[in-house]
Every structure is written in structure tokens, then in C-alpha cells.
Amino acid sequence: MSTLAPEKKAEAQQDGQFDRRALLVGVGAAAAAVVGAPLLRRAWADKATVFIARNQRYDGPLEQTIRDGLAATGFDHALIRGRKVLLKPNLVEPTKKCPQMTTHPAVVVAVANVFRNFGAEVVVGEGPGHMRDTEMALVESGMQDALDDAGLRFVDLNYSQTGWIKNAGRATVLDGFHFPREVLEADLIVSLPKMKTHHWVGYTGALKNLYGVIPGIKYGWPKNVLHYAGIPQSIYDINATLPKTISVVDGILAMEGDGPIMGSAKPMGLILVGTNNTAVDATLGRIMGFEPSKIEYLNLAGGRLGPIGDGLIGQHGERWRDVENPFTLIDAPQLRGLRRRGVLVT
């Protein structure tokens, strides 16, 4: 679907122009979030280092891996003590029949425990893109039991209170975004994507996963307003507008072929950690066999939100070349030419 014609600007876009109360709530909440942001931004803005761990298992010592990764990428945990941290897994359309589609609960709980031990106030939030019954998404993904056992609070971002904030990216025609209160109030958002191919944009990682912070009640199921605005462009705009984000990628059981929903399982045994999501996604893509500069949303983000050039991204743990394992793709026009070496089709 192409960019929306000006006369068809969607309701969600128009709403922000006259809904004064929502606007004021949004500005107030955003301002509150921004109070702590400069310190965090200064601390990590120039750190484009990505940590890769191999031979990882869901029943393994994930907390240690994640702590090591954060330390290696320059994350100063003292800065997060007493702060609000929102963990954002990928629960787009969970089903027990397809565990390679969604972030594994063990990764979410491990990250939560790491940040709780840092003294942060942790909450898990998601707005599933294809399901209105979020309870179903939590049960099918196994997340409900895991969060209950770990004593973690979940917020349904699809139905949360929202505030409007100006679009800082401007790659789309959208003037701004309605973000859930928990997003606007977070001092740090940790993107917890699944390592997956994506049949429209190539692959999905830390940046695309943050589509899920957009509330369905305002943008629909699917979040069609964003599709009309352009998928790569809206990925860029959302990430340019969000408060500080970092990521931990679940690449233990990945998905190849017809991702992000119908693809096949691909065991990779990887965890990636980074404090710059653009650099994380560029590294993730290289492992999967993509050329990051050919991925449209990374091309927009590169140099603006972070580096995508191999030489600009520091590596800790494993080197990406040592764990490279090209993912199969469906044979579709939009995916041809995204790879470094030829085209692999299912």
C-alpha cells in the first residue's frame, strides 16, 4: 500500500490536531519522560557496540549473558537505578504451534530480572498487532504464566491511555504519534525482538519491533495507519520519536522463510545486546545474510539514529562473521536484491 494521499489523511493523524486534552496530556507526559532522558542519552548516544553470544538456550544462564552484554556495550547500570524500564517483547500473533514467531518468555524474564537487580522499576508491555484479545496472546505465547511466576506486571499497550507527541522523524506525513502513557513515562524502553525474516521489509529486529508500542485502539488491528504512511518510513519515525531505547534480541530459535508470521523455525542459539538499535539491526541483518544498506528503514536510520556501516559498529562477544548463517526468504519482488550474495528463495 502506498503513501496516503493528503486528502485521505487518516483519523488518527487528524485527531492529534484538535484533540487539545490529548495533546496536553501527551506533552506533559513526554516532558516528564524527557526530564531523565538527557543523562541517559549522553551516557549511551555514541556507543554503537553490539554484543553477540552464541550457544544460548532458553533454559541456560540468560541473565548472566544479558548482564555481560550490557556491560560490554557500555551500559552504566547505575544510571537506571530507580528509573522506569519498559520491556517490549514481540507478541504479534502468538500461537503455541509457532514458537519461532514470538519472543520467548525466558528471555523476557531474564531481562526483567537483570534490570530489577539494577534497581529499576520494570514493566512488560505490548500491543499485539493482529489480535484484539491480548489475554489470548499472553496465554498462547506462554507469557502469562511466566510473568505471573516472576511477579512481573504487564500493560496492554493496545488499550492504554495515550498522549500525543510530535513526530521527530518526518519521513511520513504523520504529524505525530499517540503513544501509550507507559511509553511516554518510561526512562528506558528495551526492545526484545525475535530474529525473523519479514516478507515486506526483509527482516524485523529491534526497530520494527517497536511498532508494537503503537496502540491498536487508535491505529487499528493491524496498525493500518502506519502501513498507509509507509512501513519503512513509519518504523523510522516511531524510533526517532520514542524516548531512549536499547535492545536484547531473541535469536535462540529464529524464523526464516515467510516471516514474520508464517515462517519456519531456524535454531540459531544467539542473543544480541546493544544500546543503539540501529547498530543492533545492522548486525542482525549481516548475520542473516542481508546487506543493511539495502533495507529501506535501516537506510533511513543509518547516520541519523545510529550507524549501519560494519566499520562503525564495535563488536563484543562473537564476531558476526563467525555466526553468519543466511536465512531463506520467499521469492517476492520487494525482497530481491536485499542480500549481500545473491538471492536465496524457499
Binding site: A10, E11, D15, E93, M131, D133, M136, K218, G220, A332
Partner: protein
Amino acid sequence: MSYLEVVLDRLAASDVCGYQAGAPAATEPTAVAALALLAHGRIERARRLTERLLEMQRKDGSLGIDRVHALPGWPTAWAILAWRAAQSSQGFDPAYVLAYERGRDWLLGVAGDSGDIVQWEGHDVHLRGWPWVVGTHSWVEPTSLALLALRLTGRGDSPRAREATAMLENRLLPDGGCNYGNTIVFGQALRPHLQPTGLALLALGNQADTTGRIGRSVEYLQRELYERTTTASLSYGLLGLAARGAYPNEANAWLRAAADRTLARDASSYKLGLIALASLGPDCPLVSGNWEATPTSAVEVGV
């Protein structure tokens, strides 16, 4: 006290109907709660909710998602249904008739967009239903709600209702069921989901099954619903089965289990309202089109 009495008492005591307990009031949960209370004969308790919806109606006839957000207007269909029920249950009140007619006029002026989509293998993009957000494509759930609102306010034979019926049938998967509204993408049939399947069957009512997909959708729900099915999916699924004359004998036990879980976890007005509506099975006014309340003696005690 039966589970249903507990559910209705909680609903009747709720001054603020939101998606979660303690959440601010929202249009959809308010309308669902009002419908549930009206359908069970708790008319006075429902009145404050239907009147609250009147206060939320905009000049153009639509309602936004809550008092703060005037857009998008997809919950308007729910308000139409609540006002239609109130108009019957509370004696003829011209305010409700006027409100649902204005809401319906707004609904009839809105359609899903398909102008920019040049090619799509899975469904007929030119069949117009309703979008979540004006200016975007038609999807299953807003179309189902709008069709239900048209059908149950006497516009089931209108061209838009006929087109919406065709659109919903077109979005059913070959093996039955539907999801948010895509069918086959890059050669693969997508997975069905319980909630939209139930809602689509409810909206389609007794529509003739010319392709076999409606029958296979009924079979899908019969196969998948059980006592652990999550509350919203279970409730919509049971309403869909009721609409096709296939309401299962186990429904009451399943809804009791769902009520126990919901009351223990978040007790949201939205979920409690859905449970109360689904408990009526074929007698639910959303299924039967009969707006007269069907109170039980046990329920009346709590009025």
C-alpha cells in the same frame, strides 16, 4: 449466588466501564456493559450507561474511543446497538432513536479504502466494509460490528449491509475461520483466530452458506473453544455459534470458568459484559434481534 449474578452485580456496580479494572471509561466497554445489563433486565442500572453514551455522541453522529479521543469512530457501532436495546427496554424514548439514527448515518458515510491497492491475492479489496480508522482498509471486526448495527436497526437489506456481508464471506479462510482480515498472503493461508471468527459469524447471522466456509468456520469454533479459552475469544466464539444454531451444551460451564478467571485477575467491565451477553446464547438480543429483556428470577434479585 450463581456466577452470572456475581458478574451482573459487578457490572451493575461499575460507574466506570473500561477495558481493565480501574481503567478510565471507554466507549466500547460502556456499550457492552449497557447491552449486557439491558439484556438481563437490569434496566435502571443500564440507563446511566446509555445516557453517558448520549453525552459522548459528536455532532456528526459518531463516538470516539472515549471522552478524550473523538477519533477513531469505530466504537459508534457498539453505541448504536446499546441505544437500540435501550429504546426497547426502557420504553420508547425518542432520544435513543434519534441517537442511533444519527450514529447509523455516520456509519453509512464511512467505508474502507481500497483505492491505492492495485493487486492482492488473498481477498477482493474492492468489497467495502468498514475500517478501524477512516482512510484505511476494511477489516473484519469493525465491519462485523457495523453490519450488526445495521442489521439490528432495520437496515440489513441496505446496499452497504449486503456489500459488508459479501466482504465478510470473502475474508473467511478456505478451511474456515478468519483472523483480523487477511486470508492468503504470498501463497500461504493464514491462521484463523477465535474472536474475529465468532464476531463475523454473529454479524452474518443466518446468511446462507453458499461456499461452505461458514460451516467450516462453525466447525473451527466447535473444535477450538473449551473451558480454558480466554474470555473475549470464548464469548465472541459462543455468540457466533449461537448465531448459527450451534450453541454448545458446555457453554455455561466454560463461561463460569472464564468468569472466575476474569474476576480473579482484572474484573474488567468489558470482559464481564461479554460473558453476560454470551451466557444468553440464542436468546442474546445480538443473536435473536429480540430486544425484550430475558431476566431470570435469580438475576432480578440483584436489581
